[in-house]
Symmetry: none
């Protein structure tokens, strides 16, 4: 890889600094409620500089959404889950779920502001919704499939549960937990407890009781 001139490298930095600043500001005031001048201040650049990297304010938002999608849906990020899934054979579902949840949570905490911005905008822009659906949800489902396939094949999974429903319910349950933890500032330990409890609930909802383990 030939080294690019310094200025190009700096440009990249600037680009990302502005993006990061925009995420921070947008997540605090919302996209429409934020001003480019606030973003500029947060990024430590002049207002005009923003428009060198992003033609319009809207493009700045798009860049955030795209970044989010590709980092959440992209290989790099899902790989954490992928690894967990691949190594899940024979493990108790509860353990696997917990691992996945913790992996996702780590990510989400890091990305909370982006997440908030993207979700909010998704409410108002179907194309963002679609992009999320295609690139994040479907991918996530595909990644996790093996776990359920295995459970199904071994007859442990209760019958009558569609994959979609399962995924949706798990996501909903986790999402509500994460939301609560983010907004109420739950402690690490009580989050753990709540997580275990939630997983336990889901586990029993999913697994067939063959009276194997109590």
């Amino acid at each position: 890889m030939a080294r690019k001139p310094k200025s190009a490298e700096e440009n990249m930095d600037r680009h990302d600094e502005i993006l990061a600043a925009a995420v921070s500001v947008f997540s605090e005031k919302g996209y429409s409620g934020a001003t480019t001048s606030q973003v500029a201040k947060a990024a430590g650049v002049a207002e005009g500089t923003i428009f060198r990297y992003f033609k319009t304010k809207k493009e700045l938002l798009s860049a955030i959404v795209m970044t989010f999608i590709s980092s959440l849906g992209g290989d790099i990020v899902l790989s954490g889950v992928e690894k967990i899934v691949m190594e899940s054979d024979g493990k108790d579902l509860r353990v696997v779920l917990k691992e996945i949840l913790k992996d996702r949570l780590r990510l989400l905490h890091r990305m909370m502001p982006v997440f908030q911005v993207v979700l909010t905008e998704a409410l108002y822009h179907p194309e963002i919704r679609n992009a999320l659906h295609e690139n994040v949800l479907k991918r996530a489902m595909a990644t996790v499939q093996p776990v359920f396939t295995r459970l199904e094949e071994s007859g442990e999974l209760r019958s009558g549960l569609s994959r979609e429903t399962i995924m949706r319910t798990i996501i909903g349950a986790f999402a509500s937990l994460i939301a609560q933890s983010v907004f109420t500032g739950m402690s690490e330990t009580s989050f753990e407890a709540e997580a275990d409890c939630t997983i336990d609930l889901l586990y029993h909802g999913l697994i067939c009781k063959k009276e194997k383990q109590s």
Copy 2:
């Protein structure tokens, strides 16, 4: 030019018409993204008229939030659930959950836009979050308590599940279903199927499998 003189009774309507229009516009573009002129157009009134009824645009938002909270958290609305809860004794939990879900869903469909506006703003305004927590969540939990208390007393409820976790998980699971149904335009019947499936999952997650206790 002065126009549209109406009876005193229709003044109330005017107020509500503007409110309704605001909900509609805000839910489409977000509060900050919407303009008072758009609201006026949607309400079929002159822009100035809005400010006869709501001193500022912000007050318009507040009115929406308040309306939402009091109609969702208020007696009238919860009474649907209350009735279900009161008559739930002896019924299968699945049936009760289904009834509650359907009741809430009916309401939510009617209020979807308000809901969206309020939730979005709640992301950015802690005081709205608090108001929702105090007036909606707590109330809802209190209303549903008897169901779980009964299950607990009869030993049907699996042990180790905190009320909070149960409520959160149910809400999360339902919310994700409703969100999907709203955004993907799920059909009535497939919604029913999904709902049954979700309820089934939750039911087995909640209930102790010792067979019916007698």
Copy 3:
């Protein structure tokens, strides 16, 4: 003025109430700074009612100015001075000046708000200035002429003083006293003292000192 029919008389009342309210409001916030709604509230009438009596806000101002001019310049009002002037023969100028000042002051205190409104507007509207000049100043001068004519004829008035200068100086001196008394809330007695002192100054400036004064 011939009396109008009763209904018209009642109209006059309303008319004057609104005018009085307008004076009060305009004098507090200035013409442009005041709103017709404030005037309406002060007058205890509906906003629309104002426009029955005065086609526009501007006309309301005109009416105030006209009222002022005709009441200050008109017979009724000047007659106080006229009487003083007519009875001034042989009196000491100081006494006459004092009487005039006191007469004007009484009037001015009653009319302070109108005065303020009219003067302020006069700054911005030459036609008001002209009207004031023609109808108030000239008249006032004409009224007071006899006093100075008499002094001149008796040789008491110092030579080299034009009537205009005399009048202007007296007016300026009195005006500054009144302004101070109005804005600083001078007490009745200290006002008296200041007035005597001012008159004394003017008197010696006007009168020829050949005579021994006792």
Copy 4:
């Protein structure tokens, strides 16, 4: 960082251009009657530019008032009078008064519009009145004191005249002359004549006729 090779200078200009335009427009239509768009046009800038230099329209007014007060009350400006006063020893009071009047008049002609704006607003804002009183009137009186002190000590000043009254009367007399000259567009020569006449009047009102020195 933000270096301003010439922009420092130009900024000042811009700032002052807007201020000057505001003075001009406000003095023609009054503060409330003027619009920021008129000011912008008069200043030859876009409307938005005004708000880069003055946060609000009101702040623009404040800036005018402050400028006025500091330039009228400030050392630089009073120094003209101060010099006259310092060099007044032995001179005839008439000459001194004339010199002061001419000095002030020159200033006032230059500042007439500001003056008008400030005085008008002073009518409605006690704090402006106070500022004027403290920073202009008191200062002016302090500056002129020596003249009268000297006269008093030499026994030339008629007894029974308080300093306050003297000052007020002189100011009122001069003010009325200046007002007339400004509004009627008096010629230079007739102004001179009127001024001399006014001064003569005041002089004889102030000075004791001992026929000593002349």
